[in-house]
């Protein structure tokens, strides 16, 4: 019978693996509904986060979908995560399939398998989960007996590299989209899998790769992407949730028994960002800005704390200090929680003194350990290229203010390998760090520390840098080595970086087309798993397998694209006008030479040029509301 727990078969394996608690479920606020909760109409989702439980459990997206789906009495949703290789081997030996942690039900028994891709490096883990679930890797090989595999998350804005492995992709916000998909499946499944997929292909916001044919030019570039069924749209536009106050999820965040990467509760205070940083895919694909009101934020914090017992709350967004009422949110929440043992944090990285003021407010009674800022580029010239308009003076003033206010450590984020970057730009990071220390020490009257953290830049689809040549890993590694030398042995400066190799694989997967799927499969068959983990990632394996299947990695990564090239994701519509993106790319290149226009934030300088609001019939939703927190309801 479908939906039976496999826990009895799993249990004897658990004492033999590391951290067995991650596989047993039992989280506070988890739900296990009866398999037939909606009778014959029941639609069942298995939601996969294709990474380890400790990373996947705190993921907000998955928690939101889990709750939204389970609120419907005729729908059931359970969660599943990637199993580490030690358990994978034992499961294969004992014949235990990929299971959900809620009911320990076989993933292959569900109607839909939703997979959330925060990063492209989860692709091989999707294949592991499919295979362990006895679901054919290729969409084309699946039958009525298999779940419909739906991808979501930011990486799903270019799902072409996994087009052969998924049946559909949901673009954009998922809250409403999962409900829509559920109803399409409920209404069409009696007609069979093919009819259901075609119905999904005609559903707004849903992309079904098999309903499109890709034609190529003789030189390997894409000629065009054509729908192969009547009624399937040429372009698929993303889903956008409006009025976030109507969607206050998660209402009852999951509290794991196991330790995870975020030991706190998160409340999203707004979605979208219009700062216009040219490297930032999240800021481009989540437009426009939609704020949650101060009152809803306050209620979500209070309700969530009561239901979880967490002692820390993070106020999440892409740039939290930009909420129109952030000063009131900070002050009023700090007033409310000052006497309790609850700490509030603003994981925002905007470089300005206002951010320090907010952080001071939120940490009124607590310890001031560390603050993070993201200047991203080491020189003002480079920061103009990426549209991160921060002067050296602003940055030093900000960090000095922080040290002066008692913060002990400042962390600075940079990227290496940005378009037009030179050795001097990267060496500028060392000079900046030394100046931060010098002035910080003066202001604080004590030794201070700064940590410089550097990631390799990966050009992403739907950004102005989608045409850019990615820097070669050797170039990145050489610049990082030079920087390392320049920082020297200064104990006040911590230096964290990754080599450029994983970034190149990420770049291949981020801007790849359907032909790249063969590399993913070959790597997985060769044992590739958990590519986001340095101890599992193998650059050599990716390069060897790419060569074996005839994929030229450089063509996909370090090649600059031209204006008229059809990009693999052009038929997927994030609302951004491609001409605007191109113009912004040209402005970036002009900025490198001292010209070019910067982009203002449209929240304060009205502008509709990116095309999202007029194109998708949306508008910015923001305060200030001028309201006060609602009183706490008595327990």
């Amino acid at each position: 019978m479908a939906g039976q727990s496999v826990y009895a078969a799993l249990e004897p394996l658990l004492p033999r693996v590391t951290k067995p608690i991650q596989y047993v479920g039992g989280e506070l606020n988890a739900q296990t509904k009866p398999w037939d909760c909606g009778g014959d109409d029941t639609v069942r989702w298995a939601l996969l986060y294709p990474d380890a439980y400790e990373v996947g459990l705190p993921n907000q997206g998955l928690q939101i979908l889990y709750e939204v789906l389970n609120e419907d009495p005729r729908t059931l949703a359970e969660r599943t995560y990637s199993v580490w290789p030690d358990l994978e081997a034992l499961m294969r030996e004992a014949g235990v399939p990929q299971f959900t942690v809620d009911g320990h039900r076989p993933v292959g028994d569900f109607d839909l398998l939703g997979v959330s891709f925060a990063t492209e490096l989860g692709y091989t883990n999707l294949l592991s989960a499919l295979d362990l679930a006895a679901i054919p890797l290729h969409s084309a090989d699946r039958t009525e007996a298999h779940p419909i595999v739906v991808a979501g998350g930011h990486a799903a804005f270019n799902p072409e590299p996994v087009a052969d492995f998924i049946d559909a992709a949901a673009l954009g916000d998922g809250e409403q989209a999962v409900k829509t998909i559920t109803e399409v499946v409920r209404a069409h499944r009696h007609l069979g899998r093919e009819a259901t997929l075609t119905a999904l292909a005609k559903t707004p916001g849903v992309y079904v790769p098999s309903r499109y044919d890709v034609e190529y030019l003789p030189d390997g570039r894409i000629r065009r992407v054509v729908p192969n069924r009547e009624g399937v749209p040429w372009r698929v536009a993303k889903n956008t949730v409006t009025d976030l106050d109507e969607w206050p999820y998660p209402k009852q965040p999951l509290v794991p028994l196991a330790e995870t990467v975020h030991e706190r509760m998160s409340v999203e205070i707004f979605r979208g960002c219009t700062r216009g940083c040219r490297f930032c895919q999240a800021g481009m694909i989540t437009r426009p800005v939609r704020e949650r009101s101060l009152q809803t934020v306050g209620k979500m914090v209070a309700d969530g704390l009561a239901k979880t017992g967490f002692s820390e709350v993070g106020l999440l967004s892409l740039s939290s200090a930009d909420h129109s009422e952030i000063d009131q949110i900070a002050t009023q929440l700090a007033d409310r929680y000052e006497e309790s043992k609850t700490s509030l944090s603003l994981p925002s990285t905007r470089v300005d003194a206002f951010n320090v003021t907010l952080a001071n407010e939120l940490s009124r009674s607590g310890r001031r350990s560390g603050l993070t800022f993201a200047p991203e580029g080491g020189s003002e010239r480079l920061r103009r290229v990426i549209n991160k308009q921060v002067s050296e003076e602003d940055l030093i003033r900000t960090t000095t203010t922080a040290y002066g206010a008692g913060w002990q450590q400042v962390k600075l984020y940079f990227m290496c390998g940005l378009p037009t970057e030179t050795d001097e730009d990267v060496l500028g990071i060392a000079a900046m760090a030394k100046e931060v220390i010098r002035q910080g020490r003066e202001a604080a009257g004590r030794p201070v520390r700064v940590t410089v953290s550097i990631g390799g830049f990966v050009p992403k689809p739907h950004t102005p840098f989608q045409w850019a040549a990615q820097a070669d890993p050797d170039v990145i590694d050489a610049r990082l080595a030079m920087l390392r030398q320049s920082v020297g042995r200064d104990k006040a400066i911590g230096f964290r970086y990754h080599d450029g190799k994983p970034g190149q694989v990420e770049g291949l997967l981020a801007r790849g087309d359907r032909r790249v799927g063969a590399v993913i499969e070959a790597v997985w068959r060769d044992g590739g798993r958990f590519d986001g983990w340095s101890e599992h990632f193998s650059y050599d394996r990716w390069m060897t397998q790419a060569a074996a299947v005839g994929i030229d990695v450089a063509w996909y990564t370090t090649r600059e694209r031209g204006e008229t090239e059809v990009l693999p994701w052009d038929h997927l519509d994030a609302g951004l006008d491609k001409d605007w993106l191109w113009a912004d790319w040209q402005d970036a290149l002009a900025a490198a030479e001292g010209g070019g226009d910067g982009v203002e934030d449209c929240r304060w300088t009205p502008c509709f040029d990116c095309g999202v609001c007029p194109g998708l019939d949306l508008e910015i939703e923001q305060g200030p509301t001028g309201r006060q927190l609602l009183p706490l309801s008595p327990v």
């Binding site: 826990y7 009895a8 249990e11 004897p12 658990l14 004492p15 033999r16 951290k19 067995p20 608690i21 596989y23 047993v24 479920g25 039992g26 989280e27 506070l28 509290v255 028994l257 196991a258 330790e259 030991e263 704390l305 009561a306 239901k307 979880t308 017992g309 967490f310 002692s311 043992k341 001071n360 009674s365 607590g366 310890r367 002066g404 206010a405 008692g406 002990q408 009257g445 004590r446 327990v635």
Partner: protein, 268 residues
């Protein structure tokens, strides 16, 4: 803003005025929790239950929850003990019920009493273990060989390398306690052991390792161990019927005698 000082501004946290001693069980799937997992779950449950738990002073105040010798990861227990410091005097039974309501199923509060005099940790002299050996039929010979040995050194791998400990001396009692049938239909011998708490502590795994060193035991699935009780040793080492007494008995006696009220501040 003042310069960094060793203590935060403001008054010190309110003192501990009552300690509650709790016996709880770790059952079912939750046997796979580690001690750190359990500690985190308790801290959150205390907050969700809105218990007035006392906190330490300093920049990173932590709740006054004292743990004693937690059962290892993968091992179930009917007798784990923890002591919680409160800033208000409450009814112990009520504290237990509130805490149990806030804990996940399978972490179950079995008993809560107000602390009397004396340290609870000192009373936890030994544990009674139930060891289930899937796939093993008769254990009589193995038990005999185990008890006949003077010393049974086992090697345990730790973070810091390997260490050798004697798994024999701490085992005061080891007796067959029947046979069950596993889900797969194979026999499953049950052992009961009374193990004195020594340093380093001898764990169920060590007893099994030692048993396998003196007798051929083929398990077809990992052993399932459950702590049934821990407390003061009831009988002498040579008594084959030995066991442990209830470690909270003294606290209950103190309550009746009116000796248990009030404790030194902040010493949880």
């Amino acid at each position: 803003m003042a310069r960094r000082s060793p203590q935060p501004d403001g008054p010190p946290p309110p003192p501990t005025v009552q300690k509650i001693r709790i016996r709880y069980a770790k059952r079912g799937r939750l046997r796979f929790t580690s001690h750190r997992d359990v500690a985190r779950v308790f801290e959150r449950a205390v907050r969700r239950a809105s218990l007035p738990v006392a906190f330490s002073a300093g920049f990173s105040p932590h709740p006054r929850i004292s743990w004693m010798g937690a059962a290892p990861t993968g091992v179930a227990s009917e007798a784990e003990y923890v002591e919680i410091g409160l800033t208000e005097v409450l009814d112990a039974g009520d504290v237990g019920r509130r805490l149990d309501g806030a804990l996940p199923p399978d972490l179950d509060v079995l008993e809560a009493v107000e602390a009397g005099s004396g340290a609870l940790a000192d009373r936890l002299e030994a544990s009674v273990w139930r060891l289930a050996l899937p796939g093993v039929g008769d254990v009589t010979a193995a038990v005999g060989a185990f008890l006949a040995a003077d010393e049974l050194p086992v090697i345990r791998r730790t973070k810091d390398g390997e260490r050798t400990l004697d798994a024999r001396a701490a085992v005061l009692v080891l007796r067959p306690a029947g046979t069950e049938v596993t889900v797969t239909g194979s026999p499953c011998a049950i052992l009961e052991a009374v193990v004195r708490h020594t340093t380093p502590v001898v764990r169920p795994d060590d007893v099994l390792t030692a048993l396998r060193a003196v007798a051929a035991l083929e398990l077809d699935a990992p052993m399932v161990a459950t702590r049934l009780a821990q407390g003061p040793l009831l009988w002498g080492e040579d008594d084959a019927a030995g066991g442990v007494a209830d470690p909270l008995e003294a606290d209950r006696t103190d309550q009746v005698a009116g000796r248990g009220v009030g404790v030194a501040t902040g010493s949880a």
